[in-house]
C-alpha cells in the first residue's frame, strides 16, 4: 500500500501547501507581528523593527477608540444576531407551514439578498435610508413618524446597519432552519394534535426543542460572521457619525492600512480572534444537548 500513501500525499499536497503557506504561516507570523512595533518606518527599513512584547496589547487596552470599536461590534452582534435569526426562524416556520403556497418561489425570493454583493446593496440601502429622499423615511412619514436621520445620527446609525444586515443575511439561516424543520417527523405533529396541543404549544414543546441543535450551530456561525463586520460601515457610514459604527475590523483596517501601524493592527486582529473564540466556546458549553449533535 506504499503506492496509495504516495498518491494520497500527492493529491492532498497542493491544497495543503496553499493552506500552510498562505494561511497557517501568516497566522503564525501575525502573532509575532503583534509583538513588534512594525510601522511605516519598518516597512521602508526592516532594521528599525523592535520586539516590544505585549506592549501593543497593553496599549490597545488603554485606547478609547479600541474599546469603542469593541463596544460597537458587540452592539451589532448582541442585537443583530437575535434579530437576524429571529427573522430566519419566522420565515422558515412560514415556509414550512402546511398552508404555504409556492414554497420554492418564496424561498428563492427570500434568499436572493444573500447572494448579492455587500458593497452594492449597501449603496442601495444608503439611499433607502436617506433622511429626505429615502423611501424608508417616506414610509414612516405616512404613518406619522418623523424623519429619522438614520446614518447621520450616532444613535440610529448602528440600528440602521443592523436592519440592513438582517435583510441581507436572514435567508441563509432560513434555508438551514427550513431543512431542520422538514426533518421533524410529521407523525410527531399528528400525535401532538391528537393530544390536543394547539399550534403555539406544538411550537414551544415540539418544534423548538427539535431545532435547538441547529439553532446553536446557526447561532455560532452567525455570531462569528457578525463579529467580522467591515464592509457595511465602510460603505454606509465610514465609521461615523462620531465613530459610532467603527467596528473592530474597521479599526484594524485603518490602523494597518491607513496609518501603517501593522504591529498594532495585528494585535487588534488577535484580540478579535480571542473574543470570537471565547464567545463560541461559552455558547457550546451552554448547549447541553444530550445527543451531542453539535459537539
Amino acid at each position: 500500500m506504499r503506492k496509495t500513501q504516495l498518491v494520497g500525499w500527492a493529491l492532498a499536497a497542493p491544497a495543503l501547501v496553499v493552506i500552510a503557506v498562505f494561511f497557517a504561516l501568516p497566522v503564525a507570523a501575525g502573532l509575532l507581528l503583534s509583538l513588534t512595533d512594525f510601522d511605516l518606518y519598518a516597512l521602508a527599513d526592516l532594521s528599525t523593527l523592535r520586539f516590544v512584547g505585549l506592549q501593543n496589547y497593553a496599549r490597545l487596552l488603554q485606547t478609547p477608540l479600541f474599546w469603542q470599536a469593541l463596544g460597537n461590534t458587540f452592539y451589532f452582534v448582541v442585537v443583530g444576531v437575535p434579530v437576524s435569526i429571529g427573522l430566519s426562524l419566522g420565515a422558515a416556520l412560514l415556509l414550512n407551514a402546511r398552508v404555504a403556497k409556492w414554497q420554492p418561489l418564496f424561498r428563492t425570493a427570500l434568499f436572493a439578498p444573500v447572494v448579492t454583493t455587500v458593497v452594492a446593496v449597501a449603496v442601495i440601502w444608503r439611499y433607502l435610508l436617506h433622511t429626505r429622499y429615502g423611501l424608508i423615511n417616506q414610509g414612516l412619514e405616512s404613518i406619522g413618524v418623523g424623519p429619522v436621520d438614520w446614518l447621520g445620527n450616532p444613535h440610529w446609525a448602528m440600528p440602521a446597519i443592523i436592519l440592513f444586515a438582517a435583510w441581507k443575511n436572514f435567508g441563509y439561516n432560513m434555508v438551514i432552519l427550513l431543512a431542520a424543520l422538514q426533518a421533524v417527523p410529521r407523525e410527531l405533529y399528528e400525535s401532538a394534535r391528537v393530544d390536543g396541543a394547539r399550534p403555539l404549544r406544538q411550537l414551544v414543546d415540539l418544534t423548538l426543542p427539535m431545532l435547538t441543535p441547529t439553532l446553536v450551530m446557526v447561532g455560532i456561525m452567525t455570531i462569528t460572521g457578525y463579529f467580522q463586520l467591515f464592509a457595511e460601515p465602510y460603505v454606509m457610514t465610514q465609521g461615523g457619525p462620531l465613530r459610532s459604527t467603527v467596528s473592530v475590523l474597521y479599526f484594524m483596517y485603518e490602523e494597518g492600512f491607513r496609518w501603517w501601524n501593522l504591529g498594532n493592527a495585528s494585535a487588534v486582529a488577535f484580540a478579535l480572534f480571542v473574543v470570537i473564540f471565547a464567545v463560541s466556546w461559552v455558547l457550546l458549553r451552554f448547549d447541553r444537548d444530550p445527543t451531542g449533535a453539535t459537539a
Binding site: 504516495l6 501568516p26 497566522v27
Partner: protein, 273 residues
C-alpha cells in the same frame, strides 16, 4: 384558528417578506434608468418618468466599469478553477486514500476553521510585498486557491464512493491518477458544481482582501471600485444604482441558474462534522 384564515395570514406574511427582500433590488434597477438627479425629488419616484441609458454609458465610458468588470470576472474564474481542482484532489485523498498522518491533518484543518481569515491578512500583505505580488491578480487569488470548507465538502461527498469500484479499477491495472480522473471526478460532478459556484460568488463578492491587495486603480474589482465611487459620487445616486446593477446582476443570474447546486452545498456545509 380557521383554516381559511391561516392560508391568508401565512401566504400574506410570506408575500410581505418577499416584497421586502426584493424591493431594494428592483428599485435599484428602476433608478439606474433614471436621468441624473431624478431620484432626488419628492416624492421619491419608484419608476423612471423617462428611461435613459446615460448612467450605463457613463459607467462604461468615462468611469471605465468594463475594466473592473473584467477584473472581477477574471479573478472569480481563476480562483474557482484553481480552488475546485485543489479541493477536489485533497477532499478525495482525505476520504479514500490512506496515507500517514491523514486523520491528524484533517482534524487540524477543521480546528483551523475557528481562526478568522482577517488574522492572516496583515502578515500575508507583508509576505506578498517582497514577492512583487501586491497589485497583481496572483496576489488577489492566492488566499482563495484552497479552502478547508471546500475540502470538507468534497470529503463528505467522496466518502459515498464505493471502495469496491476503486479496487476493481486497481485490479484492472488502472493507475491511481487515471482512477481519479475517469472514475472519481465524474462521480463528484455535482459537488464540483457546488464548489465552483461557492468560490465564484465568494471571489466576486469579496471586499476586504481585494481592497487591501489591489491598490492600483486599473486592477480594482467591482466591489472595490464601487465603494470608491460611492465615496466620490455621493450625490450621483442614479449612477451608483447602475453600478450596483452591474455588480449584482451577474451573481444573481449565476445563482438563479444553478440554485439547486448552491442550496445542496449550503446544506452539506452546515452539517457539522
Amino acid at each position: 384558528m380557521n383554516a381559511r384564515w391561516a392560508v391568508w395570514v401565512v401566504n400574506g406574511l410570506l408575500a410581505g417578506l418577499a416584497f421586502v427582500s426584493l424591493f431594494p433590488l428592483l428599485w435599484m434597477l428602476s433608478v439606474s434608468f433614471m436621468p441624473a438627479g431624478a431620484s432626488s425629488t419628492l416624492p421619491t419616484p419608484i419608476f423612471p418618468s423617462t428611461v435613459t441609458l446615460d448612467n450605463y454609458r457613463q459607467l462604461f465610458g468615462s468611469i471605465g466599469m468594463g475594466r473592473y468588470f473584467m477584473n472581477s470576472l477574471a479573478l472569480a474564474l481563476l480562483s474557482s478553477a484553481i480552488s475546485v481542482s485543489f479541493n477536489v484532489m485533497a477532499g478525495y485523498a482525505f476520504a479514500k486514500l490512506r496515507f500517514r498522518g491523514r486523520d491528524a491533518i484533517f482534524k487540524t484543518l477543521l480546528g483551523a476553521l475557528v481562526i478568522p481569515g482577517q488574522v492572516a491578512m496583515l502578515p500575508l500583505f507583508l509576505m506578498l510585498k517582497p514577492l512583487g505580488l501586491i497589485n497583481s491578480y496572483a496576489g488577489a487569488v492566492v488566499p482563495m486557491m484552497a479552502s478547508v470548507f471546500g475540502i470538507f465538502l468534497v470529503r463528505q461527498f467522496a466518502r459515498g464512493i464505493p471502495d469496491d469500484l476503486l479496487e476493481a479499477a486497481r485490479i484492472d491495472g488502472a493507475s491511481e491518477w487515471r482512477i481519479f480522473l475517469t472514475i472519481v471526478v465524474p462521480l463528484l460532478a455535482p459537488v464540483l458544481a457546488t464548489l465552483a459556484i461557492f468560490s465564484f460568488l465568494g471571489s466576486w463578492n469579496d471586499f476586504m482582501w481585494p481592497l487591501i491587495v489591489l491598490t492600483d486603480d486599473s486592477l480594482h474589482t467591482l466591489p472595490v471600485a464601487l465603494a470608491g465611487l460611492s465615496r466620490e459620487h455621493v450625490q450621483d445616486n442614479e449612477l451608483m444604482m447602475a453600478g450596483s446593477v452591474v455588480t449584482i446582476l451577474p451573481v444573481l443570474l449565476v445563482f438563479l441558474a444553478l440554485q439547486r447546486h448552491y442550496m445542496d452545498g449550503l446544506m452539506a456545509g452546515s452539517v457539522k462534522g
